[in-house]
């Protein structure tokens, strides 16, 4: 072989090698382009349910790559806005039902962050009671999956050790239970007052009885300007909240206790009760898998039959208006409307599935909550019907101020009324 022939041979071998490499890349790229990618932003406090849904969706759709980013509820809306502003919008995001929260269906739709899904087949089949909170100006933006309840979770072992054989069903019985637990050396109520979203739960649980049970049309009257927080049973609710404080029903350091610490307190039996949304039960069980929990509605009044409980549709999924994969995102939201998806999510989060008919799913130790639900002694979470996103953070702040004696009940109610009137 001559020198010239050898150099041509080298070129030929090099070209062949390059062709092989390029074809491998081409095949890889082709294979990669068959995989669909969906990006989701979800709320940390609901991640157990999200993980259950994602697992099920991936099993049914193996060609879809679904990446999930979670953010705690207090910073969730910041993450969404930052991603939207940096042209890094997710395809799917979670939204809270109704209005009131910065991440609610109304606020997100109003800002143009989410897509109108009214034309989707599942939109007509949302149970009637839950349709208004999935809509803004008559258009549907999400499919509610679960309904949670705010109840008084209690550590049954701590109750037994303190000689308490039945759960309190009236306000006076609650105070008596608190006294017995204090005498037994336990913290009657764990309270994560230092974490803002925790401050609202006892108010909501009390207002269900002191306001909504007496006047179920209160929210509509308030929007119409015919009543205010100051003129309503909210005054009684705030007063009773502080009565619990003054009676020593909370830990001395409750003002500096975080949400995570409050879970540990009830999980470990240092505290007996915790007023919370049921979605967080997996987090309590993670702290102590052997904890035996029960639940009852917080009795805000002295007539057992007039004790109501707050019920609220939990967050559900919406399609981002700047999604890069709109069709697949809509397909995921349609999937969350299926019986299998709703069942998986609610099982993981100890919530009630929004199906027709609504099945009986709460454990036996939660019987008082199930009874309240079945008897219709329930009302929506208060913020879902507020007209703007400033009332809720104002509520958080005034509860902290009340608890630390910076303001009185009158001043707290005035601030809430003032926030209610702001532009939404």
């Amino acid at each position: 072989m001559t020198k010239k022939t050898r150099s041509w041979a080298k070129v030929a071998v090099g070209a062949a090698a390059l062709a092989v490499v390029l074809s491998v890349f081409a095949m890889t790229a082709t294979a990669g382009s068959n995989a669909t990618t969906l990006r989701m932003v979800a709320i940390t406090e609901h991640k157990d349910g999200v993980e259950a849904l994602v697992k099920l969706y991936k099993a049914k759709n193996p060609g879809v790559k679904l990446t999930v980013t979670v953010a705690p509820v207090d910073t969730y809306i910041t993450v969404i806005r930052a991603q939207l502003n940096s042209r890094n919008a997710p395809d799917l995001l979670m939204s809270y039902p109704g209005n009131g929260s910065a991440a609610s269906v109304v606020q997100l739709a109003k800002s143009g962050i989410t897509l109108d899904l009214s034309g989707e087949p599942w939109a007509k089949n949302i149970p009637a009671a839950f349709r208004p909170i999935a809509q803004y100006r008559g258009k549907t933006y999400t499919r509610p999956i679960s309904t949670g309840m705010i109840g008084t979770l209690y550590n049954r072992a701590v109750f037994r050790a303190a000689g308490i054989t039945s759960v309190p069903r009236t306000w006076n019985q609650l105070l008596s239970t608190c006294d017995k637990l204090k005498a037994a050396g336990k913290i009657p109520f764990a309270l994560g007052m230092a974490t803002p979203w925790n401050t609202q739960l006892i108010t909501y649980a009390l207002v269900a009885s002191t306001v909504m049970a007496r006047d179920p049309n209160f929210p509509q009257k308030q929007i119409a300007g015919r009543t205010t927080f100051s003129k309503s049973g909210w005054r009684e609710a705030f007063s009773k909240y502080m009565q619990l404080r003054d009676r020593g029903c909370f830990d001395k350091g409750a003002a500096g206790t975080t949400y995570e610490q409050s879970l540990t307190q009830i999980a470990n039996g240092d505290a007996a009760m915790l007023v919370q949304v049921f979605d967080i039960i997996p987090a309590i069980k993670a702290a102590n898998p052997k904890v035996d929990l029960g639940a009852f509605p917080l009795p805000g009044v002295n007539t057992a039959g007039k004790v109501w409980a707050p019920v609220g549709a939990g967050p559900s999924f919406a399609v981002s208006s700047r999604a890069s994969n709109v069709s697949e995102a809509k397909k995921f939201v349609a999937f969350t409307a299926t019986r299998a998806a709703v069942t998986a999510y609610t099982k993981a989060t100890n919530t009630i599935p929004i199906l027709t008919p609504i099945p009986r799913v709460l454990p036996k130790s939660f019987a008082p909550m199930q009874t309240a639900f079945n008897q219709g002694r329930i009302t929506f979470y208060m913020d879902q019907l507020w007209p703007n996103s400033q009332v809720q953070p104002t509520h958080f702040a005034v509860v902290q101020q009340l608890f630390t004696k910076q303001i009185n009940v009158d001043q707290a109610l005035k601030r809430m009324d003032s926030a209610y009137k702001r532009k939404g």
């Binding site: 930052a82 502003n85 350091g253 003002a255 500096g256 996103s389 953070p393 902290q400 630390t404």
Partner: protein
């Protein structure tokens, strides 16, 4: 660097919600709102209080540490590293660790009870009178090492013959420090005060992580308030107006301090 800042500042004169594709010009309305807003006023006061405490305490302790570690102490290099180590940590990590330590029955409470002062235990981050100072302590803990290093550099520049001369003149330690060392540390003091002031005025991470401005609004600073206005309430334009106000405050403070302290140096 300048263009994004100017572009952001423009939004302060609009009604932009942070997400919509358009914004309308509303002139000085946001700034008028800022002047009328009790919450904004309170946030500015909290910001100034936090800055004052951090600047004074951080520099006082930093100076004492520098004076102590400038001497021929055997372990001085190890000690210098230990005191500087917190500066290298993420402010968020430090905030969460201290939040845990300040919690009810946490490490701080246990330490106080151990020395027999159980009556002094408080809900450190839940007490509206203490929370701001508890946060200030955390910031001082983290950044004192930084001040120390700047002061050490200043001390290293003082010639040995100055110390010898004062010894010959019969000056005691306090006289030497007051009349010679402290005046010669003027450049280091200028740097430390200006930097600590700027950092204090725009402090966000520790405040947000530890209290989110609570309890109530007791630790709300301008930065946490502008964050809430922009990202929680959706009033991005008003949040930007607060940011512009803060920028002007930082600028005014820095220029005033540099003017006063540089004169002192000469």
């Amino acid at each position: 660097m300048l263009l994004p800042a100017i572009a952001s500042g423009w939004y302060a004169f609009t009604d932009w919600d942070g997400v919509s594709r358009s914004a309308s010009w509303i002139g000085l309305a946001n700034f008028r709102q800022l002047l009328d807003d009790d919450q904004a006023r309170s946030a500015f006061v909290n910001t100034l209080k936090l800055t004052l405490v951090v600047v004074v305490v951080q520099n006082a302790i930093g100076l004492l540490l520098a004076l102590g570690l400038h001497r021929a102490v055997r372990t001085r290099n190890v000690l210098r590293t230990l005191f500087f180590a917190p500066v290298a940590l993420s402010p968020l990590v430090v905030a969460y660790i201290w939040q845990f330590m300040y919690s009810s029955h946490g490490a701080v409470d246990q330490a106080i009870e151990t020395v027999g002062l159980g009556g002094a235990v408080r809900p450190w981050l839940g007490d509206p009178d203490l929370a701001l100072y508890a946060i200030a302590f955390t910031i001082v803990w983290q950044y004192t090492g930084y001040s120390m290093v700047i002061f050490l550099a200043g001390l290293e520049r003082i010639p040995d013959d100055v110390y010898e001369a004062t010894a010959i003149d019969g000056a005691n330690s306090w006289q030497r420090f007051r009349d010679i060392v402290f005046p010669l540390l003027a450049p280091a003091l200028t740097i430390n005060i200006v930097i600590a002031s700027i950092v204090g005025l725009k402090q966000f991470d520790q405040v947000f992580a530890m209290t989110q401005g609570g309890p109530g609004y007791a630790t709300e600073t301008v930065t946490t308030l502008l964050y809430k206005q922009a990202f929680v309430y959706g009033d991005y334009a008003y949040g930007t107006a607060l940011a512009v106000g803060l920028t002007l405050l930082v600028l005014a403070f820095s220029l005033l301090q540099i003017f006063v302290l540089r004169r002192r140096e000469t």
